[in-house]
Symmetry: D2
Subunit: 336 residues, 4 copies
């Protein structure tokens, strides 16, 4: 009965975020059909297929690429597999959405970019903050001139607890700055343009057990944009009180401030105190943004529009994050 | 492929809220299938059926009641039709969800109650505020004793603009207090128990054009609960700045305050001023609550649980709202 | 050495608020000199005189009235003495500032008004909320038309704990509505004009021990203004969390909301919670307003200006509060 | 009549802040007497003397030092004169309060320290933020362990507009980082201990006219504390929306956040917007803190207590600010 054109999407990767995307593609986004799922974990594949009536399933992404009934792939596999998966999807001519970070290695990121360019396929980078209503509204107001020229950019990202030691291992995560700060680096570029140089300080201050794999848990990164304007990013694993994501644009005529931390619209007022709860984590904070991001991806593919976040954006955000990681280690200013 | 049991729901009424429920039943709620839709407006039926692949369609609710493949009906038709539609659905043995208000006439509401009782069907009243995270958390904290005994209840409802003069006509809407205040009356009872008496004042203060149909646009209702505790509800059509819904419970050991008015997590800070936007209307404020409400309905029917909001709740909230309407007109205290 | 003209003020009454006024008159207000103090309590007189180098002291107000070196008197004695003290000061031709409430009896209030009129002296009524920056700014914005026409007035007053049973005794305090609500009644008139009728509900809900003297601890008062506009005041002794004073003006083009409850500019953010402290009581909430009020009084007397708050304002606010007290007792609407 | 011992204070410097201190010493602080004032500007001396009945006046600070009736001096002269004035006061054996910054030159600051040590006089450094209720409460909560160990310090200072070009001249102001950031450097040390190294970025981004004297208008300073913990300070002259001073302590068990920007307790709510005003400038934001600071100074001298903020604190904060200024210029990390 449905005459509306839907994008047939193959979802590769069924981890925590993969399952959110499965739900979004299958139910929340009118313009997509979750047509195939693949993951190394056959049980996860089975479960999601049952949950959302997914017709085609596999433990091998290649099966999805080879399927002519699939228009586009959404890649949410571990970062270390991005290159292989993107190359396979690109070679098969699929439209591609790839979750951040593109890679933790610049060489690999550039290889991905080449593969995409060679194949000439549509590629949209996943940075969901751009689809958050707050971040998006700030961009609109900035472009409308609401604060004159933005001259200082500030961004804060706070996780409420540390990841597992295994996850934090810089050999797979890239380390704190790449793993968490890549979002801040992307937003920095989106609002302010290219970064020319960075400085950074960091330390392992709250979770000594992360020392086993050589990661840090707090960092402050200073940015000098190509325009000469300034930025500062601070990242922590010990947000403790909640998942707190903030950004500010300090302009010549005003300031824009993005963020919130209250989860439930309830104030509890007891003797001498007013209190409220907090946003638990990224799934809650960015639930709408994740959905909006894939909805945008589908619309772009279906309507032949250019992606708002390109493979270059993935490469350049990574370049900044890698430079900041180096700067943190060396104590020197690093040109991006 | 899907082995999970889903509730086959027939949706009766495809107005503004009906369309939200259509989307929720078809896509947001894993445990429901939007199996049938009916509305007098054949074009609306056609459109929704196409949008969500709905197999059974009709311009007559009776077609839905007669369909053995339909387990439950969700009724979002105009209030004046509630009695006929509920009676039809009850006679057919369907599980019923009925949107507020049950009726604008107590006689009719009691007739609905009788029909439900006679048929012995499952009936859940729609009062979505109870499913809002803030209102629900306040109830939980209250029951946990976070504020001792609640002794004063306050509730505020503000529409950002007036309805059409036609809609406002008390002959169909019941007038301001029944139309808007029924929610506050329900929450009052949920938190505080039965209402013993009411007083009310009101006036047509902002929109003289509503005088054509004899409605008012502002009211303040004082409540005396059966327990001797106090309550106050204020309602306005001239919220102007946004859709603002607040409630407070003043206890012997603390206070609970529910509500929020900022829509986008962005502060715009210009010379001498900090500003943010506001929640536009009920669709935005209660989007999650509407979905949660139908999800709860489906779970209750599927799992054989009692409804959390009964036909009696619909009757009693209406009784309070009617008494308040009389009190506003007479200037006298009215026993409920 | 000082050539600036200062007003020589005699302060009558050295209770809790009297001591604040002593400090303000002696040190905070450049245009006043605390020239005399009187109180039945000789030790208090002695102590204040030492603290602020006050030359003239007495345990009898008459000594202050008779002193030709005194230009003006500030009266902060118990309400029951207001009539005698004002009559004495008026007969002596002193400019008078009298703390709220004027009286708890309308007859007495009218007698005070007559005495002031007969003597033709300057008389300024004390209602410090009008000098709070928030309340004053709301009045300015209202008069500027920032919200169009104000059609609904709301006011909330919350004490953080109950007074002593002795203090609460309605024979001296006038009862909850006169004692606490007189401020709300004054602000109601200031913003909205005269009150035509009131309804009220109330109860003894949190502190049964106040039953010994027959007072209540919570009340809700509905106001119908002469203009037909509406108002609602709620008052409680069980604020518990802090001293919370709020007001709202709901207009045809917007809303003004006055109030705050955070005392210290510090947020304490711990696992899953954000919290702040609260304003303890009226001394902290209205410290600036009390000073500004006396500074305004002095300026008015020195410069020959009319008082912004007259004896009539004292009479009329009392009239509303007495009517509300009667309405609460009778359950009937009372014409003011 | 007054038997209470008061500290006889000579106030040196009657500029903007000097006049605030004059009022505080003369009227707000019960334990001080404004016994003498001196300033190069004879008219200012005359005016303040008249306003507050100050007996001894001079255009030469030396006259104050030589006066045996003066117990203590409060120095609020231009920074460039601090050395000479402090040396004079110290040699005369007066107790000294000196406004920040001690100097803009480390050599001069050390010379001041030596002079104070040689004379053995009481010396209290002026850093009023420590006396703000928010900053002080954060220190208390930190010391009580409310957030575990503080591992990251953040501080933000925003002026609402630029100073005059003449004032901004780094030859007299020390440049942006010393002029504004000295407060943040002091608070950093107070909360977190000594700073080991700094990095900084800065630029002239909003007010090109400050280029005439070689100053910048925005800076971001990264701090590495001797403990290995981290800090970041951002400073701007283009706060535009208001005077915004914030600090945060990110701990292993929670976070403390200090600051506020709403001046008047009034929300103005118009179509689609909620807005409030902002704190204009430091006089408004820190009015109470300035008073509390001098009250503390007087109490310390009268009661023989050690100063809470020493000349060393003045030297060390300056050392950090100078290192940050160098780091901003060189782009290199600078060891403090």
């Amino acid at each position: 009965m449905a005459s509306r054109t839907k994008l047939n999407v193959g979802l590769i990767g069924l981890g925590r975020l993969g399952r959110v995307y499965a739900r979004d593609l299958a139910t929340r986004i009118p313009s997509t059909r979750l047509a195939a799922v693949a993951d190394l974990d056959g049980a996860a594949v089975e479960q999601i297929a049952r949950e959302y009536d997914v017709a085609r399933t596999s433990t091998d992404p290649a099966a999805v690429f080879g399927d002519p009934g699939i228009d586009a792939v959404v890649i949410v596999t571990p970062t270390s597999t991005h290159r292989a998966v993107v190359e396979g999807a690109a070679a098969a001519g699929k439209a591609i959405f790839c979750e951040k970070p593109l890679s933790i290695s610049l060489e690999e990121a550039l290889a991905i970019r080449s593969a995409v360019a060679r194949a000439g396929v549509f590629f949209q980078m996943g940075f969901m903050r751009r689809f958050d209503r707050g971040f998006a509204a700030a961009k609109r107001r900035l472009d409308e001139g609401a604060i004159g020229e933005a001259v200082v950019f500030k961004s804060t990202s706070r996780d409420p607890y540390r990841p597992s030691v295994e996850y934090a291992d810089p050999r797979s995560s890239g380390g704190l700055i790449i793993d968490m700060g890549i979002h801040d680096c992307d937003i920095a570029r989106w609002y302010m343009g290219e970064v020319a140089a960075v400085q950074a300080i960091g330390g392992l201050l709250a979770y000594p057990e992360l020392g086993a794999v050589g990661d840090i848990d707090n960092a402050v990164i200073s940015l000098i944009f190509a325009s000469g304007r300034l930025g500062v990013i601070d990242i922590t694993r010990n947000g403790i009180y909640g998942y707190d994501i903030m950004a500010e644009l300090l302009g010549t005529n005003g300031t824009l401030r993005v963020g919130y931390i209250r989860e439930t619209p309830l104030m509890v007022m007891t003797k001498g105190q007013v209190a409220h709860d907090t946003v638990p984590y990224f799934m809650e904070r960015f639930a709408e943004a994740y959905t909006a991001q894939l909805e945008n991806f589908a619309a772009n593919v279906l309507e032949g529009r250019q992606p708002p976040i390109t493979v270059d954006d993935g490469v350049e955000a990574l370049r900044v994050a890698i430079a900041a990681t180096e700067a943190q280690k060396s104590g020197q200013r690093v040109t991006v």
